[in-house]
């Protein structure tokens, strides 16, 4: 492993950073939509990501479907899983809360419910698919060579797909009335109820949308990394980290945070080895000393 920086290596590291960064961004966007829409800190989010990768494996590798089709299917399947888990768990939990329930009580109980969900999902995935690592043969095995730079096409496809999903999400959130409803609910659900909208199904939609994004992230990354039942636990810490750095409730912050953490981890692993993660985590704490609400977030509630 070359320790000195050649231009080829530099470009390769940038591409790696963009790849993992775009996956983090998709994950955090999903987590953020759930957090702000339904006020649930979803610990099961990483497990939904792992499940997305497994469903991608099922459709693409086992059933030999088209790549784009199986990606869309894994997103839809996870949105369904998310909607069902909202209806089965969080909808009942919400009815338990009364006016006098404090904010911290609601937050704790919904987070703990998502931990229960995470345990069930994780072990369920493990029982269904086994403990062995699975891999998907990348549909884009070509490697682009420009000078001494070698970039695998599948990484570029991942970046392209993530950008496309982000743009679609942006258009949905800011150009359609449905997106307006979602944003309104995350701002003030009671005001939305007063306008005569049944917020219950909007909450379901929020959770389904967030879960679907996690599923898409898992499906997109599946051809690049091996699929293991523990992949969800590994990514959830970094997802929380990006959420914190970017600031809760800021899309621009999320994108900036995802790219920043992607760059730091990509370059860190190359030059610092296994200490990279520790240094990045410490850096986040330093950022929080100076900007408690995150890079671009509003001050925390």
């Amino acid at each position: 492993m070359a320790k000195n920086m050649s231009p080829g290596l530099f470009i390769q590291l940038i591409v790696n950073a963009l790849t993992i960064g775009s996956i983090y961004i998709l994950m955090v966007l999903g987590l953020d939509i759930i957090l702000r829409g339904t006020k649930i800190l979803n610990f099961a989010h990483g497990q939904l990501y792992a499940l997305g990768a497994y469903i991608m494996f099922l459709f693409f590798q086992t059933l030999k479907l088209d790549f784009t089709l199986s990606l869309i299917l894994s997103g839809v399947a996870l949105a369904l899983v998310g909607a069902l888990s909202y209806l089965g768990v969080f909808a009942i939990l919400n009815r338990r809360f009364t006016v006098s329930s404090t904010f911290s009580y609601r937050l704790l109980l919904s987070a703990m419910a998502s931990v229960g969900l995470m345990m069930i999902l994780q072990q369920g995935t493990l029982l269904c698919f086994g403990t062995q690592e699975l891999g998907i043969l990348s549909p884009f095995p070509q490697i682009l060579e420009v000078g001494d730079t070698r970039i695998s096409l599948s990484r570029l496809v991942i970046i392209f797909l993530s950008v496309a999903i982000c743009i679609i999400l942006y258009l949905m959130m800011y150009r359609t009335s449905f997106g307006k409803l979602l944003r309104a609910v995350s701002y003030d659900p009671e005001a939305v109820t007063l306008q005569g909208v049944n917020t219950f199904w909007i909450f379901v939609a929020c959770f389904a949308l967030g879960s679907g994004l996690a599923g898409l992230a898992g499906g997109i990354i599946a051809p690049l990394f091996s699929i293991t039942p523990s992949m969800g636990q590994n990514i959830i810490f970094i997802t929380f980290l990006v959420l914190l750095v970017g600031g809760i409730g800021s899309y621009r912050g999320t994108i900036a945070g995802g790219l920043l953490i992607g760059l730091l981890l990509s370059f860190g692993f190359q030059f610092l080895g296994s200490a990279a993660e520790l240094i990045v985590f410490m850096l986040v704490i330093v950022i929080l000393i100076f900007r408690p609400g995150g890079l671009l977030g509003e001050a925390a509630e």
């Binding site: 957090l35 800190l41 610990f43 209806l87 768990v89 909808a91 009942i92 939990l93 009815r95 338990r96 006098s100 404090t102 904010f103 911290s104 009580y105 937050l107 704790l108 109980l109 987070a111 703990m112 419910a113 931990v115 229960g116 969900l117 995470m118 345990m119 069930i120 994780q122 072990q123 369920g124 493990l126 029982l127 049944n198 219950f200 636990q233 810490f237 929380f240 980290l241 959420l243 914190l244 809760i248 296994s274 200490a275 993660e277 520790l278 985590f281 410490m282 986040v284 704490i285 929080l288 000393i289 408690p292 609400g293 995150g294 925390a300 509630e301």
Partner: protein, 342 residues
């Protein structure tokens, strides 16, 4: 005037005293009736878990949800180990030094963390727990991922040398009782009332002249120092520590103790929850790979249908009737609001 439950301080009535004495005698006699070393091991781990759960409840009583209990638990375990093994101090000298060290550390980090309330605080403490694990794994003098082996048991006091599990059980039980006494005194003092006021409404507490930041920071420091105490006793009990043992998910189990036992009960709740969560998964090992699923389902059932936890449900037993299920069905499916009679 009737105060809301969360503002009432628990008055220890005469019957409660009798109950407390019976429980104490039971706890003291218990290890003498048990032959199995395995059960004694679980009892010791349950006591350590109970102390950790109480630190969570302490912070929760001021409205903070911490996932960082494991972080200071690890700090306590590692610093006591280093003081005993590298600096050659006796356990009883290392213990207060560890507590002071952790308190200073908690004050420094807490000053940054406590500024963020709500969701951000949850995530920061979770990440901090992960940072501590990664840092311990990177430091060579702490043994890296392999950890430290051969930590001695606490130095003998008189003729008791703490080598037997029964002796260690009594030691940890004494520590648990000490923590219970201190916490009980805190909860019934002005400080405890200030914490509960902040939890109920930070803004209202502020208008009453309670400095939210300072009181929360105080809760953070006390909670973290207690977690370090538990860590100390864990390290010298298990005699080897690895960074993996303090991973971020440990904190989530600590939360579980408090939720399962009952969030309204700051002392008894985590204690009962820790005992249940230590013993139940061990016996569920029979069903092997289904164990996490069953634990998850139990957790969900408790949260969804008995949100008061074990103690809360015992205190206010739910009136189960067909009518209630019918109205639940109505509420969920037709989206109708709560009936006026429920």
């Amino acid at each position: 005037m009737k105060l809301p439950n969360s503002l009432k301080t628990d008055r220890v009535t005469r019957y409660k005293w009798i109950a407390i004495i019976i429980v104490l005698i039971a706890l003291i006699v218990l290890p003498l009736c048990i032959e199995s070393n395995y059960i004694k091991h679980l009892l010791i781990m349950a006591c350590i878990g109970a102390i950790l759960g109480m630190t969570f409840s302490l912070l929760f009583s001021s409205g903070l949800i911490t996932l960082g209990a494991a972080a200071f638990y690890a700090v306590g375990a590692y610093s006591s180990t280093v003081l005993v093994m590298n600096a050659g101090l006796s356990f009883w000298a290392a213990l207060p030094l560890t507590l002071v060290f952790t308190a200073i550390l908690a004050l420094g980090f807490g000053a940054v963390f406590v500024r963020n309330a709500g969701v951000a605080f949850v995530i920061i403490t979770l990440i901090f727990a992960q940072v501590v694990v990664l840092a311990a794994a990177q430091a060579d003098f702490l043994g890296g991922w392999g950890g430290i082996m051969g930590i001695p048991r606490p130095n003998p006091v008189g003729t008791v040398n703490f080598a037997a599990k029964t002796d260690y059980y009594y030691l940890i039980l004494a520590m648990l009782l000490l923590v219970v006494l201190i916490y009980n005194a805190l909860y019934s003092s002005r400080i405890g009332r200030a914490w509960r006021a902040i939890k109920l409404s930070p803004k209202l507490a502020g208008t009453l002249g309670i400095n939210e930041y300072r009181y929360r920071l105080l809760a953070f420091v006390i909670g973290s120092t207690t977690a370090a105490l538990a860590g100390c006793f864990y390290a010298h009990y298990s005699q080897n520590i690895t960074p993996g043992a303090f991973g971020g998910w440990l904190s989530i189990y600590v939360q579980l103790y408090a939720v399962l036992g009952g969030l309204e009960f700051y002392i008894l709740g985590p204690a009962i929850g820790a005992v249940v969560m230590t013993f139940v998964p061990e016996y569920l090992r029979i069903v092997k790979e289904w164990e996490p699923i069953i634990t998850g389902v139990i957790l969900l059932v408790v949260i969804l249908f008995f949100p008061g936890g074990i103690l809360g449900t015992l205190k206010n037993p739910p009136a189960l009737s067909l009518n209630k299920f019918h109205s639940l069905y109505n509420r969920l499916v037709t989206g109708k609001k709560r009936d006026s009679n429920s």
